[in-house]
């Protein structure tokens, strides 16, 4: 079974890397959205410093949502998904592996580039690690919850806008706690509590979301 999971992860990452423009688009979207905020609210450094965690988190949320439909869409259109549904490996495990692969190509780049964007906002450097850690723990949760939405809207007309309507309200706790971590660190409270909560959310979502997404996939493909 582990071999099957490795296969799925390797295959999905390989497919994404071979078509690297898709990966880059999401990353560029993230960078551009974050860069728009100073243009909108003005270049006052004090203001930018305060809003930096929130802006980066909201942009990461939107960027990861933009990439969600790709988790299952291409496998659905070329029929590979049906073979996975028929196979002996539990569907929940396959979904979990696909989410991991999806996060590696769409979530991890956001985490890695976030310190650069934080510096643009004059975010205090000693707290950069809290911000990076919060994103590293939070973006997988976004991918996990998003997989349920992506599975539910598979093959529907108006999928993208519908997907955001379903998924964004469910992202609220991650946003609140994730952006809160960096803010708490800056205000001197320390972000450990939020990071631990994010870890709890990640464990909870990792345990349940793949199975919910698997049920949704079976509904969408029957």
């Amino acid at each position: 079974m582990m071999a099957a999971l490795r296969c799925v992860i390797y295959r999905d990452v390989l497919l994404a890397v071979r078509r690297s423009s898709d990966v880059m688009t999401v990353l560029l979207f993230f960078v551009i959205v974050v860069s728009l905020f100073p243009l909108g609210v003005g270049p006052d450094p004090a203001l930018l410093r305060t809003i930096a965690p929130g802006v980066i988190w909201v942009a990461a949320l939107l960027a990861s949502m933009l990439a969600l439909h790709r988790i299952f869409a291409s496998d659905h259109s070329d029929g590979a998904l049906e073979q996975m549904l028929l196979g002996v490996t539990p569907l929940g495990m396959i979904v979990g592996a696909k989410v991991v692969a999806h996060w590696l190509v769409s979530g991890l780049p956001l985490v890695l580039i976030s310190p650069v964007l934080a510096l643009q906002f004059d975010f205090p450097q000693q707290f950069l690690w809290t911000l990076i850690l919060s994103l590293a723990l939070g973006t997988p949760v976004l991918s996990l919850i998003g997989a349920i939405g992506a599975a539910l809207t598979l093959g529907l007309r108006g999928g993208g806008a519908l997907l955001s309507l379903l998924v964004l309200p469910l992202y609220v706790p991650v946003l609140v706690i994730g952006a809160g971590a960096a803010e708490a660190a800056v205000s001197g409270l320390g972000g450990q509590a939020q990071l631990l909560l994010l870890g709890a959310l990640l464990a909870f979502a990792a345990a349940f979301a793949p199975w919910a997404a698997a049920v949704a996939l079976r509904i969408s493909t029957e």
Binding site: G158, L166, L170, P173, A212, A216, I219
Partner: protein, 244 residues
């Protein structure tokens, strides 16, 4: 007694019609009585003046908005577990009423907030989570509306409703925590002075009125859904012919 007798649309349809009529009548009576108590019997509040009277609509609406989501998720889960046709129809029949009450709670809340707090909206934990509840209702309805096959719509909606139910407490507590982190509690809903008995009575009567209304409205809507989905079956054709 056969519990499953009314699990088929054909036998539930006439029963739903009768029940909707009775609960509609009860709702009208309870709402009239509740509004009478609220507007004419209950004393004027010492601190808030007459503006507080909006709670007779606001609080029951807020209760119903949360309760109806649970009921909707219950029917959705039942439909997913036992594969019963009627459960999914009930879930989709409840959703618009739930969304209506959520909107009503938000709207009356802001009407009350303006004279009392001096602002239409604050990012209070309760207000924010109620707003997100409204989004969850919209998401449920939008998903069902986007799927043409009613069976798939029922099941997909059920998964979403159940995921939403798991998330609601997490959302509530995260928002509550976020709020206390951002600003001190400048406004508190819980500091309300001990309520006069008539106020409580009026609110309870209104809550029952809204409850009966929800049952009646959901059953009426379920009847429409049943007719629409079963339009090819004999009893639906006969009903249509009889009422034409």
């Amino acid at each position: 007694m056969n519990w499953f007798k009314y699990s088929s649309p054909q036998s539930f349809f006439p029963l739903a019609g009768k029940l909707a009529l009775w609960f509609g009548a009860l709702a009208a009576i309870a709402c009239a009585a509740g509004l009478y108590i609220g507007f004419f019997v209950a004393p004027t509040d010492a601190q808030q003046g007459e503006a507080y009277r909006i709670i007779f609509i606001h609080v029951p609406a807020a209760w119903m908005s949360m309760f109806l989501y649970l009921v909707m998720a219950f029917w959705a889960g039942l439909g997913l577990a036992f594969n019963t046709r009627l459960s999914g129809m009930m879930a989709s029949a409840i959703a618009p009423t739930g969304a209506l009450f959520t909107f009503l709670a938000l709207w009356t809340g802001s009407l009350w907030g303006k004279p009392t707090w001096g602002t239409w909206w604050v990012w209070d934990a309760r207000l924010t989570s109620e707003l997100i509840l409204l989004f969850l209702y919209f998401g449920f309805m939008a998903l069902q509306a986007a799927i043409d096959d009613p069976r798939r719509a029922d099941k997909a909606g059920a998964v979403l409703a159940l995921v939403g139910v798991v998330n609601i407490p997490i959302i509530y507590f995260s928002v509550k925590w976020w709020n206390t982190l951002h600003q001190g509690a400048s406004v508190s809903l819980t500091k309300a002075p001990t309520m006069a008995a008539t106020m409580l009575t009026g609110m309870a009567v209104m809550a029952f009125g809204f409850w009966f209304y929800s049952i009646a409205a959901a059953l009426m809507r379920a009847r429409c859904i049943m007719l629409e989905r079963e339009r090819a079956s004999e009893w639906a054709v006969e009903y249509a012919r009889g009422s034409a």
